[in-house]
């Protein structure tokens, strides 16, 4: 009886810790995608930005010895990729979704190409805050060993919501996302707003990638990303284009992804690979449950309905 309770608590703690650890890259990528989509553009290439960020961050951290420099360099790589994506998308007759897939292949190729020599060496990792120091239980301490990037992401979500709602620039982004024509009539430069939003989105996604290589799992290899960048697009739909909901959704997805390993850690190995699909099944189920063939999704920027 006693043992069963302990293992249930163990699973819960492992899932909670996993939600935070695995959810952080989801958080950054989805916040980036949220910003880009609010301006009326979809960037499906964030998977490539994520991998490029992971590789750049790891390489710079290794060469400079400072992981934070790696995070900054990753952000720079994301800015460049976002710039290329935005530049292509603002040309006439270009399909945003196809460009996203192309940029994903291109950036993935670049990341693997330059990352080849960084697979072996060990780079300095990002520090973490041991918020569970009060506890003697190793499980609790493992769950509460929290990275600073996660805290930044947690702060960023309400900040972005505030930005959209109360700042002039945020309102400009939203206006451009709702109606390009009205924005032009009001004198806003639609392409420039979308360009900056896409670059900022790429920046955030790449930082999410640097978290992967510099903190958890904490090394660079070619199987590092398991589609987080692509799932972020689904996650933003689920979060109704609301940054704060993006935070909750990321934690939910992280928890789902941590379910398999958590069960394995208490000795349940059956269906390990099936539980690995939990985040994808969850996303699909949520999309089926919340989408509708008749009406536009609540909270969806109007300009997006032309693309999808």
């Amino acid at each position: 009886m006693m043992e069963e309770g302990a293992s249930a608590l163990g699973i819960f703690l492992a899932v909670l810790g996993g939600a935070i650890r695995v959810g952080t890259p989801f958080l950054f990528v989805s916040l980036g995608e949220c910003l880009t989509e609010r301006s009326g553009r979809i960037n499906l290439g964030l998977e490539g930005s994520l991998l490029m960020g992971a590789m750049t961050g790891y390489a710079v951290s290794l060469l400079s010895g400072n992981p934070w420099l790696g995070v900054a360099a990753a952000g720079g790589a994301g800015l460049v990729l976002g710039f290329i994506h935005a530049l292509l998308c603002q040309q006439p007759k270009i399909n945003d979704i196809a460009v996203g897939i192309a940029m994903m292949i291109f950036a993935t190729g670049l990341a693997f190409y330059f990352g080849k020599s960084f697979i072996q060496p060990v780079a300095p990792r990002l520090p973490s805050l041991d918020l569970g120091a009060w506890s003697t239980s190793p499980v609790v301490r493992a769950a509460l060993d929290i990275n600073i990037l996660f805290l930044i992401g947690v702060a960023l979500a309400p900040f972005m919501a505030w930005f959209f709602k109360y700042t002039r620039l945020g309102m400009v982004v939203r206006t451009v996302g709702e109606s390009a024509e009205s924005s032009r009539a009001m004198g806003f430069n639609v392409n420039r707003v979308r360009m900056l939003s896409t670059m900022a989105g790429g920046f955030l996604a790449s930082i999410g990638g640097s978290y992967l290589s510099l903190y958890y799992p904490g090394s660079w290899n070619e199987g590092l990303s398991t589609g987080q960048g692509l799932m972020a697009v689904a996650l933003v739909i689920f979060a109704r284009w609301n940054p704060v909901y993006c935070l909750y959704a990321s934690l939910l997805f992280g928890g789902a992804a941590a379910l398999g390993p958590a069960l394995q850690s208490v000795g349940i190995t059956w269906g390990y690979y099936l539980f690995g699909a939990a985040p994808y099944v969850l996303t699909l189920a949520i999309m089926i449950a919340t989408s509708s063939a008749q009406r536009r999704l609540a909270g969806m920027p109007n300009e997006l309905s032309r693309i999808t």
Partner: protein
């Protein structure tokens, strides 16, 4: 021959010839630009770009051996490209071919194991059909979800890829595992008798011919039948298609089913002609290469054949490139990405120039 009849022929042929020239010239120019950019990239890394291109050519098309190798790699890519191309005619961006390949291959392997002992030709036929049906249902579901629930087809097909791979892993690491396969867990083999053979003395299997046949028949369906024409209308303007009374939902689901069937066949052929059993080798990226080929071919099933051969060659040269120049295997991925980006960027130039300006009208 009077002046009037000459101008009448020109009026009929000028625009068509112009459209054809445009459809050939723009992708070729985009390809050249991509190759130049890649050359600069390679040169910046301290390699001789001409040397690298010579190696790629040798590895891809330099000898009969390498041509066969490229053709073998082109076969599944042709089929997965159809999976993107057919729904794309209706304006649908489906990127789920990878999952359909995996499940089609898995289903084919299970069929082969279950029917082991029956007449080989019968077993092979049923295997391929089952692979097609499973792939078709998998991608058909994407179309149904879009039509009945409004679920974005790009996202759902992508999620289904991951789910398909998880199902394969779950089964080959679990209940279907052949205990003899330790390094790479696989299903039991389908048996040597049930393998698809090669054509004559070559190393090209009959699956390649099937892929060719499918490309030609999908071209016929999309360009010469009312169904294909309806798809084009849906792709042009859904509202107009609905006003015309076209059954948009059914058209979408059928297009997705046919596309998925092609990708499922690719998986079944990989199992029946190459691996002989289902394992994670099915997840070799053919689905993603197919997306690239479909866009390069501008969703035209006939154009898919040469483009898939080109891409199959580039992918086949990856190994030689690694050995001869010490370049990482991701080099061809960079090249593929550059080609893809350039081809997409070239879309903006369609209709910008008059390739064969019409003569001034004869009074």
């Amino acid at each position: 021959m009077s002046a009037i009849s000459v101008s009448a022929t020109q009026d009929a042929w000028g625009p068509r010839l112009g459209a054809f020239t445009e459809a050939c010239a723009i992708p070729v120019i985009a390809l050249v630009i991509a190759f130049v950019l890649f050359g600069v990239f390679i040169a910046a890394q301290g390699h001789d770009p001409f040397d690298v291109y010579a190696t790629i050519y040798r590895g891809a098309f330099g000898s009969w051996f390498s041509v066969q190798n490229s053709l073998l790699r082109a076969a599944p890519i042709m089929l997965t490209a159809l999976c993107t191309a057919l729904p794309a005619r209706a304006g649908f961006v489906v990127i789920g071919a990878e999952g359909a390949v995996v499940l089609g291959g898995l289903a084919a392997a299970l069929t082969g194991i279950a029917l082991n002992g029956a007449m080989p030709l019968f077993v092979i036929t049923v295997m391929l059909l089952v692979g097609m049906v499973v792939g078709g249902v998998w991608i058909g579901a994407v179309g149904a979800l879009k039509h009945y629930r409004g679920v974005n087809e790009t996202i759902s097909s992508l999620l289904l890829n991951y789910i398909a791979i998880a199902i394969l892993n779950f089964l080959v690491f679990g209940m279907l595992k052949d205990p003899a396969t330790l390094n790479k867990p696989s299903t039991f083999p389908i048996g040597d008798d049930n393998m698809i053979g090669v054509i004559g003395e070559s190393s090209i299997h009959w699956g390649f011919v099937l892929a060719l046949i499918l490309c030609v028949s999908y071209w016929f369906v999309s360009r010469r039948t009312p169904f294909g024409f309806s798809l084009d209308i849906v792709g042009g303007n859904v509202r107009a298609a609905q006003v015309c009374g076209l059954p948009v939902g059914r058209l979408l689901v059928i297009a997705c089913f046919l596309g998925g069937a092609a990708a499922g066949l690719a998986g079944a052929i990989e199992v029946a002609a190459i691996h002989g059993r289902a394992n994670i080798s099915l997840n070799a990226g053919y689905g993603y290469a197919g997306i690239l080929v479909a866009f390069l071919a501008r969703q035209n099933p006939l154009a898919i054949i040469p483009v898939a051969f080109l891409l199959g060659g580039i992918r086949a040269s990856s190994g030689v490139l690694q050995r001869a120049h010490d370049l990482p295997d991701a080099t061809v991925l960079v090249l593929q990405g550059l080609v893809f980006v350039c081809i997409l960027a070239s879309e903006m130039f369609y209709g910008r120039w008059q390739w064969f300006p019409a003569k001034a009208a004869v009074p």
